[in-house]
Symmetry: D2
Subunit: 291 residues, 4 copies
């Protein structure tokens, strides 16, 4: 089908490529136009504004933060200005507040929003192995379903209000930070008692605690693989801020969030802004007098 695609960062580029590979007709837009060129070679049309990309009637976006998304939707040459009737499938990790604001604005313009953030990394985007978490009205979800199939290994429908998918995505990012904190505490305890990190992780992952996140983030801690960052600490901090804002708005105390965020702040304060967000584990080890 005809689809617009906005935002060709690490994630977006892979997703756009998966859409092309699945046979869809894709019109792409990126703020830095040079990044779009390789996709042009793959058959994508290159638009000069987000609104132009949205003229396909359905447009997906995958951007860095609330600011970038708001710009693309509400700004000059944006979706609402250029193609107010387009169905917008927003895949970015954004605030619940912005998702609500966008849903209202799209509805007012006579169209609609589907929120469809994803779990997975750039490699999974490129190989169509993402998990898609979608929310929106049934007919809109149906319309977007072939696109989800083109980029993900599995889709979950979590509600009919788009923001619900954003909330689930934020809950997931909270779970990643929380799991990192938990593993770091367990591994610091073990290590100071003479049990090597690698050994403890082997036992935990090999018995009742094994999951992709435990394997991956446990591995980063085991190997102290914090640089170069896969996901830089300040970006993680931004995501945890979004979790905190949603929790504050909904009146939900989240003490584990506070701990993980404080350890993330500590690693940024001490280890710098370039480090991976899993380095919140470094704060845990430092506090125990370990390297």
């Amino acid at each position: 089908m005809d689809v617009g695609f906005i935002g060709l960062g690490n994630m977006g580029f892979g997703i756009a490529r998966s859409l092309l590979r699945a046979g869809h007709t894709v019109t792409v837009w990126n703020r830095t136009a040079a990044k779009a060129e390789p996709l042009g070679a793959d058959g994508a049309t290159i638009a000069s504004t987000p609104g132009e990309a949205a003229k396909a009637g359905i447009v997906m976006s995958m951007l860095a933060d609330d600011h970038a998304v708001a710009e693309v939707v509400f700004g000059e040459g944006g979706i609402l200005a250029g193609a107010p009737e387009a169905l917008h499938v927003s895949m970015s990790t954004i605030s619940v507040a912005l998702a609500k604001r966008m849903a209202d604005a799209h509805a007012e313009a006579g169209s609609a929003l589907v929120s469809a953030p994803v779990f997975g990394r750039p490699a999974a985007a490129e190989s169509a192995k993402l998990f898609v978490v979608a929310a929106g009205e049934g007919s809109h979800l149906d319309r977007a379903a072939p696109l989800f199939d083109a980029v993900g290994q599995k889709s979950f429908i979590v509600g009919d209000a788009p923001y619900e998918a954003n909330l689930v995505k934020l809950a997931g990012n909270f779970m990643i930070a929380g799991t990192t904190e938990m593993l770091a505490e367990a591994m610091a305890l073990g290590e100071k008692g003479g049990v090597a990190r690698a050994k403890l992780l082997e036992v935990l992952a090999g018995t009742l605690f094994g999951s992709p996140i435990v394997q991956n983030y446990g591995g980063y801690i085991r190997d102290e693989a914090y640089l170069p960052a896969g996901f830089a600490a300040p970006l993680g901090l931004k995501d945890l801020r979004l979790v905190g804002e949603a929790a504050e708005e909904l009146r939900v105390p989240l003490p584990l969030l506070g701990i993980a965020r404080d350890h993330l702040l500590e690693t940024i304060a001490i280890d710098g802004e370039e480090i991976d967000w899993s380095a919140l584990a470094k704060s845990v080890f430092r506090g125990a007098g370990l390297k």
Copy 2:
């Protein structure tokens, strides 16, 4: 082989049965003798003291707490008094401090300790599906290996000092409490934002966070299955106290432990002493103004 077995509670009974089923010659002892009778019918010999059970030369024990283990080792009619030369394979969840004290005492008596706590529930004990986490000197571990094979699906050797296995077991119990806390926070956030617990758990477990513990404890929270207790809150509190004591002794800050323990205290204070330890999740939901 000939083996003594001490402690026929829910876990111990299943383990002893698995030993018999594997063809070992088992002499059992339990404080309440009546519980031993069904095993007698299965071919076990019933001893009148722990020391007598230990005369088999190798003796396993699975008891409720430090107090019970110390009684069986150091008390009148105990292992050290009755069979000081026996290799003691201690499977109980006990303190690091007691494990060290026992290792010293067994060594002084001319024998040795192997610590071999397990992950798994009574049903896994009965069906030989436990995970065994063992530590001790190599020759002693070799000697105990056939017994581990008889009761577990897999064994992990984590060190040559017995207490290291106890520390790993405590780290595991900390991970269960921490995972419960984390899931409860995520699910409270979701629920207050309109995403049902069952739906959020389905997404988490179906994407990157799925593990046996996430499935099981997430299920308890989803179903509010806190009564009757599978593992009563005061027992969980006792285990977390052992984690805290080890952390204090080793000088390791564990903020997540503090949070989970406080929520466990809260559920005991409000919901009573009979509730399951996973009900620490109730404290999280209560704090958010949810039922």
Copy 3:
């Protein structure tokens, strides 16, 4: 001296009255004009815009939040539009970020900002017993000094960058919430052990811990005096959010802030939006199974 005064809420009204009483010539502005009338009777001139009030050449403002302050400074009819040369003495509890933005804007307009938030309640404002915490360039502070003398019992100069005074004020509000949390925990422990709150507070305040905040907030907890609110919980939550934003920007972990904020969220979730912010103590007592 001639001075403008913007914002006649509970605090601002008392401050303006103290200025009049000290013999200053005061031009007031308030969004809801009716509130200004009693001051007119006391000799104040009533302006029709903030910018008009600022024509006095020096203008103080005391408003509810960042939004109201930004409106008065940057909005139509605001200070920058109406009297760009006026020295602005900002007494509101606002974010560090807004203080920095205002300082830049006033400087660019050829004038300056002094931040001068206060500690104290409306009664202290009316009786000129506030504590003034001021920051700004020396000559501007000198110019504002007679105004501080007119409203406060003591002034503290904390730096030459205005935002520093705002940061100190936020640190103070953090201290209030932290003291409330600490007292509530101590009193819940005592009460569950049979020591009445009143008795424990008497001992604490009468020995080494007595301070105005311990006396006042300890008294609220002792008497469960949470309604009607002196300072409503959502306003307290807003202030703690500003503390958290400053801490995040400065990369400073504040775990006690997390705890107090979570308990404040809990009391809002359970007890409603009308309750006093000291009711975060209710969450502490509730968690202990106490009323």
Copy 4:
């Protein structure tokens, strides 16, 4: 009056001297006899066992920990063995559990316990400026009153069960650690924002937050006066453990205790066992990337 006094450490020595100075007839005992000699020169009789000191009919004790107190009460040559009829006035900071056990044992022996821990340092003990927190039956408190007058500036009666005084003392020590944590967080926030610790402390102590503890512990943090220790970190950790045990027994969550204890563990892990317990503030500053 005739009184025995057991325990001549820094605190006990000063208290015994104050008793002598007030004209009481004092029989002292100390484990290391040499420490008693200067008091002999001041007119004290030196006993050879705790039980002998208790023959005065009323005996005060001031010792380091539960272990030392239990030894003096229950051990060979102890109070119960040597003078079972003596009223025991226990001034040590001990666990609630030991206070209960002692109260029972003294009652069974036909006598009684009064708990009377104190707030204040060695200098205050020597100059009779302590605060005494007492609990016990009225007639026993009346009997001990002249002794309290001899050593303290003020006495508080907090209950008729002796352990209640111990609980209040533990709550007070929790307040010291909590205040240290709170001040450190506020001062780290200020310092990273450009406001020196000394300046912030001056404002806090000079406005609404000033108390002896804020002045003293704030001063330690301001001056980084952590060595030599006035009260070594491991002793502080022991006291916080007693608070935690009481809280666990009484089912009271104390999240602030968890934070302060973790920061104390961190400073011990990194800065060593010799440092003052106020150095938990170092952990707070370290976490913010400050020295």
